[in-house]
Each structure stands twice: as C-alpha cells, then as structure tokens.
Symmetry: C2
Subunit: 108 residues, 2 copies
C-alpha cells in the first residue's frame, strides 16, 4: 500500500512572536497534529490515511491550516474540537466539512 | 488561489545515525527540499505549485521520498539531479516520471 487513500497535512510552521502574519505553530498546531495522528490510529484508519506535519501552507492568518489530499480540500481555523468531524465526515465518509472550508483568498 | 495545482511533499524526517530504517533526512532531504523550492520559483511555478517539507512519509529505506498531489504520485530514491526532470515532465507537463516511481511496498 504505497499510496494513501487520504493524506492529511497539518501546517506546523512557527513564526516568531509578534510577526504580523501570525502562524499555525503559535496557534497550537503541533498539539493538533499529535491529536490528529492519535485519532487516526484510534479509529483504525492508520493503514489508509497518513497524517503529516508540514512547513508553511501559505494561509498563516487563517490557521491552523489543514489540507487533505488527493481531494485538494483545504480547511482554515481548525481546532481540536473539529477533528472528530473531519475524521467521521471526510476521512471515513468522503464528505469534506464545508463549514471549515478555507475561503478563496490569495496565498500568504 | 487557495488550492495549488500541484503540491510537492519532501520528507525531511531525520532519524539518529545507525537507525536500521535510515531516513530521508540523513540522505540530504533538507538540501533537496531547498533546491526544489528554488527550482519552482526559478521556473515561474510559484503561483501554482507548493513545495512542503514534511514528517516521515513511511518509505524510509527508499528515500529520499517525494509525493506529488493531487496526483498521488510517489517517488523514491530522489536525488538533486532528478529535480529538473520532475519539474519539466510532471509539474509542467503533467507526466509523472515513471523511472522514479516508488515500488508497491508496505509502509515502513
């Protein structure tokens, strides 16, 4: 199984405090990433889903930014309490979570 | 443009020296990632392609591992001298580079 059914990217880029862009890292994305990985394992998805931490995903001010491939579905302002819905609706059910969709804004 | 036309993932996971799995990091993936980003900018692809460094992509012994989404195309044993072909053939031409395709092996 060299190709995941779905691949979740969590931006963990950290900018210095006070940077005007802000960053996903300072919003707690390392913990969100760790929780997402645990949840995927707990729900028995580890053989089909990969969760990766990444460098900047270019939506700093709308972070925490999460992308799901191959759907090319992007989520903004993701918080720990959203992860269950993303798992159930999107990763298991194939239905992206519309309320979390990243708005159509330029890359930062 | 919130969704990239293509998104390149470069595994930069580093394991301690002597780890039996090896790692992409110890094979020079940080430099490969930096070169890939530079090349995407030099070729005028920066408005449509994102290059991200990631945590472990689960093909440690076949690294450096690179994945390209939304194609879900996976490459193994990628070296600096392969990047030009990946850019021209895949990112610009839409044709994955078959000679670099990751074999159909289990995740590590």
């Amino acid at each position: 199984m060299p190709k995941p059914q779905r691949h979740v990217l969590v931006c963990t880029n950290m900018r210095p405090p006070g940077n005007p862009k802000g960053s996903c890292g300072e919003k707690g994305s390392e913990a969100l990433y760790a929780r997402f990985k645990d949840m995927v394992r707990e729900r028995g998805l580890r053989d089909t889903v990969i969760v990766s931490r990444t460098s900047c995903l270019k939506h700093c001010s709308r972070g925490i930014t999460v992308a799901v491939y191959p759907d090319n579905a992007w989520y903004g302002s993701v918080r720990a309490e959203d992860l269950d819905e993303i798992c159930v609706s999107h990763l298991e059910g194939g239905r992206p979570v519309e309320r979390l969709a990243m708005p159509d804004i330029p890359w930062e």
